[in-house]
Subunit: 217 residues, 2 copies
Amino acid sequence: MEQETRLTESQPVPHDHAATPGTLRPGGRTAKVRRAVLDATQDALADTGFHALNMDRIAASAGVGKTTVYRRWGSPVGLVTDLLHDMAEQSLPAADTGGLTGDLRANAELVRDTLTDPRMGAVFRAVIAAAACDEECARALAAFYRTRLAEWAPVVTRAAARGEIPEGTDPVELLRAVSAPLYYRFTITHEELTGAVTERAVTAALAAARDGAFLRE
Amino acid sequence: MEQETRLTESQPVPHDHAATPGTLRPGGRTAKVRRAVLDATQDALADTGFHALNMDRIAASAGVGKTTVYRRWGSPVGLVTDLLHDMAEQSLPAADTGGLTGDLRANAELVRDTLTDPRMGAVFRAVIAAAACDEECARALAAFYRTRLAEWAPVVTRAAARGEIPEGTDPVELLRAVSAPLYYRFTITHEELTGAVTERAVTAALAAARDGAFLRE
């Protein structure tokens, strides 16, 4: 997830985002402006959170005209939702360690590295808070995780094919079971995400999966 | 959890909260004022969320003088943290169905009922957002869940004594494993909390517990 936020213009913009403001002519000036504005948005989220997002300040720190920012993104919500689209577009490919435990551990550690990273942790706190306050942000956050989970789903189907877990295990349910305890601590109990927490999340999800707890209904 | 928020003055204020503003002389005028102000705070959180909390409006709808509210609670953060103390004070006793599955199901359904209740769901979204933006709110939210988990811990120790799960299972780890998937959907993916989601959270946590995934380190 760290590199989901790595800044790159080389990446083509998926068709379903073709209509997203600022994504026309990828690689061109529009893409450069979008990159600068989304970087500035991410900085602002990390520094002061969602409710302090200020279009004028973001335009200034992005070195882009205010009118451009207002015309293309409209509002702080527009900036956050486009940032989440962008983070989803740059989502990392899933691990393939050859075994389910290793793959799930890689996923859990990616989540942990992101949430414990001072900058990215602050960004995720901010977008989660934004999602709690705004329906549009909530939909964009949900879409971001749908993209991530879809990328990691093959990890589970491969493991089922190898006989590590029952055939018919729902990949999304298993992957969510690994992430849930980490996000629960991050958003609800605000406890430290230690290596032991990550390891236990993997062990518990695996035990439940082997027991058939995540079989498709 | 619904009744954690049931309004009552009969309940004595725990010693450790004796210093909390507005908790002196429980049952007396101070307690009545606190009750009215915390009810108004909860209404405001449900209606407009944390960032729109307004001390003057809360004083007005509570029928309490502004100066009293400013003097006792100081800020919207003070109101939210005291509300969370109050919700923890009124926490429900744990279920005792005679079996771990039934007890964990009762716990999961209590969480689900609370988060899917239009008013309480909005209150929890608001306090979770507040915790994402403010350290003091984060500590109060964490304390609220520590109180809840401590009340439900005997459910797990009884089950271990009955041999339903391994001796040495960490009650808090198991109880968190039941709640985590529900809160993950509530705060992160904003998916519906169906009965199937609740049931799966219980089944998965139980399977992991039986497998020893929650043994104390």
